[in-house]
Symmetry: C2
Subunit: 406 residues, 2 copies
């Protein structure tokens, strides 16, 4: 098994052969992002394997539509990203703007436009200010140290950047995987957007990268929910450029599993940080479902619990109201038999194969007053499991989304 | 077509041949329901046709399990109902308590236990205080004027009872349909529960009653959402006793359509009132989807919009952030093509077949500052339509569900 070690202050350009840079393109006229980095470029110095997962929403932003086309062409090794405007719900004009952004970025970085994806997050239904974008791209200096600036530039109402890098040590040598993400939130009140990036200097065969990336996305980023609202811009992109100089990792080889574990560590970290920094969140909620009849059932039940307003408000209020958890599980659409179900909250068993267990309310309230709340549900039906991450629902969430005036 | 007229101050015993009564069984030790009516009986003086729709949650309260058995036996003409304890998640003991409640009520009212359904709403995982229930049932005086008390007794955190009666005038004579419901909320913080009842003195053939009741439930009560959390106690029961003395209404006859319209009027009223009085709600939100490829698509999209936290917070904040509505529609799972979609908010067109329409934000904010907010989405794909009702998401919802301590 490979050793996986977190690199202090690591980010998306910690892996070799990646560069990034960011500028303030003045996308925000006011609020905490005014004057902050809001336009950024990330690229590999050499051709890459690339894999991407996009929003399943039928309403897709122009950047998603264009990036899907670029992924299909198979040459992507860069992304131009901005906050402050999602360039969605803008019709064909929005698509033209997205394409022009990639052309400007490609020309600036000495790439072909077909090598550049684009990601935009912010207000919907407003055209991209292309004058600002054009002037901004011209000022970007992409450096091997620029990964942190990239993570900062894509933030909207995130309270902090989310980034990580890990070193994967194998018998054949070491390589690095970096990652960053932005979570849900906006300065302008708008839908949440999730953008995530993983980079590596391992050489990963493109088909294998796509397979592992999809698997890991389904286990991590796709198991995060802040409020159940998907965005028209959600994107998770992985780039593998081989700059570490090791042999290509191919399917069926032991190295493939090591790479999977490294990518999982990076993505899991980003998923947890996304949930912890959800809009208005006071606590991270981790829901681990075991004993399910199928992985699909386990995922459905875990996700439904993380999105239940009644569970989320109970977690906010340190309320050991475990019936809410069970009833949310019961509407998820996965198999569940009350008499076989065991529920633990913060490690304390409250329901054992359908029999409720006495507890001292004040003690449970004290246990729940924590930065992380762990809900463990064993269905007693099979061997499948899944974990989902979410956050509590506080009055701050409502304030952020109801009271912020444009 | 029949004439349908609302009867002032009508309720579930406005139709002939029904009786109801309620007492305070001291189910609540504190809070606004302490000392208020909390235990109630409703029954028909004569045998009935009966139809019921229960929660789809896999976690079902004992009263639901027992009432489903009673409905299958085909003789139900009464319900004993209480607030303050939902008698759910209590295992086999809870089922025994539910059965004993029906036996006590039957004995008190001179009915057979098989004729009595039971409905309980309130805290989960706590056994029913059967001493209070037994003493309470013995004190119930069921009267032809008791319908209003019944509606009051089943309330939890509802701010007002929801009730109505209509007179249906047909060529053959008049009959009456009454209804009442309780919405989401609790004194003890617990999951929302919806209970609804319809009574009529029309004589409706049992199979027809079941068909029409299911159709109407799907169009009205099942299109309400306060927070997306279904309950383990949800019940909608309809009783038709024929006391008006008119000929039996059977399938395929014009009278069947008249009865359907009357039942629809009663249920629609209850659905709207349930949504308007959702926990913490400041505004009723009505979402009308037209032009859908199928009724299922229309319902999915309408319901998803009413449950979207980002739409609900925008409605709370009078924010004309229409992108949130479209993006919620895009994740609903029904067919939608952005370029064919038209969206109106409070009667104002904001998106016309995919093209966004300019508006003055201050004007839209003023229009949205209303007791009822109407969202009309035309998908431009077919002829199917559906309407859903919900409410805004306010900080009061979070306070009610997070901060109320037991």
């Amino acid at each position: 098994m490979p050793e996986i070690e977190v690199i202090p202050n690591g980010h998306v350009t910690t892996p070799k052969g990646f560069r990034a840079g960011a500028v303030c393109a003045s996308m925000y006229a006011s609020g905490p992002k005014a004057g902050a980095l809001d336009l950024a470029l990330l690229y590999s110095e050499r051709p890459c394997s690339a894999a991407a997962v996009f929003t399943q929403n039928l309403v897709k932003g122009a950047p998603v539509i264009l990036s899907q086309e670029r992924m299909a062409a198979g040459r992507v090794r860069a992304v131009i990203a901005n906050s402050g405007c999602s360039n969605s719900l803008n019709g064909p004009g929005g698509y033209d703007d997205a394409r022009l952004m990639t052309e400007l970025a490609a020309s600036h970085a000495g790439l072909a436009a077909e090598e550049v994806a684009v990601a935009s997050t912010g207000v919907t239904g407003v055209r991209m200010p292309m004058d600002k974008i054009k002037a901004g791209i011209a000022r970007i200096v992409a450096r091997p140290e620029g990964g942190h600036d990239f993570a900062v530039a894509i933030m909207t109402t995130d309270t902090r950047p989310k980034e990580i890098a890990v070193r994967v040590r194998t018998a054949a040598g070491s390589y690095t995987i970096g990652g960053c993400a932005k979570g849900s939130g906006m300065i302008h009140p708008d839908m949440a957007t999730m953008l995530a990036y993983a980079t590596t200097d391992a050489d990963v065969e493109p088909g294998l990268l796509r397979t592992l990336h999809r698997q890991v996305a389904d286990e991590t980023i796709n198991m995060v929910s802040i409020d159940g609202d998907t965005s028209c811009s959600d994107t998770f992109l992985a780039l593998a450029n081989g700059a570490a100089g090791l042999a290509r990792i191919e399917a069926g080889r032991p190295e493939a599993d090591g790479f999977r574990q490294g990518l999982l560590a990076v993505s899991m970290h980003l998923a947890r940080e996304l949930a912890r920094d959800g809009e208005g969140a006071g606590r991270l909620m981790e829901v681990a479902v075991t004993g399910a009849a199928s992985v699909e059932d386990a995922r459905r039940i875990a996700r439904t619990i993380t999105t239940s307003p009644l569970v989320k408000t109970a977690v906010a209020g340190c309320d050991p109201n475990w019936g809410r958890i069970l009833v949310a599980a019961g509407r998820a659409g996965g198999r569940l038999v009350e008499a076989k179900t065991t529920l633990k909250l913060q490690g304390r068993t409250l329901l054992a194969r359908g029999a409720s267990q006495p507890f001292v309310e004040a003690e449970m309230r004290a246990k729940l007053d924590a930065a992380e709340v762990l809900i463990e549900l064993d269905l007693g039906l099979g061997d499948a499991s899944a974990t989902a991450w979410g956050c509590d629902l506080t009055t701050d969430y409502v304030h952020i989304n109801a009271d912020y005036t444009t």
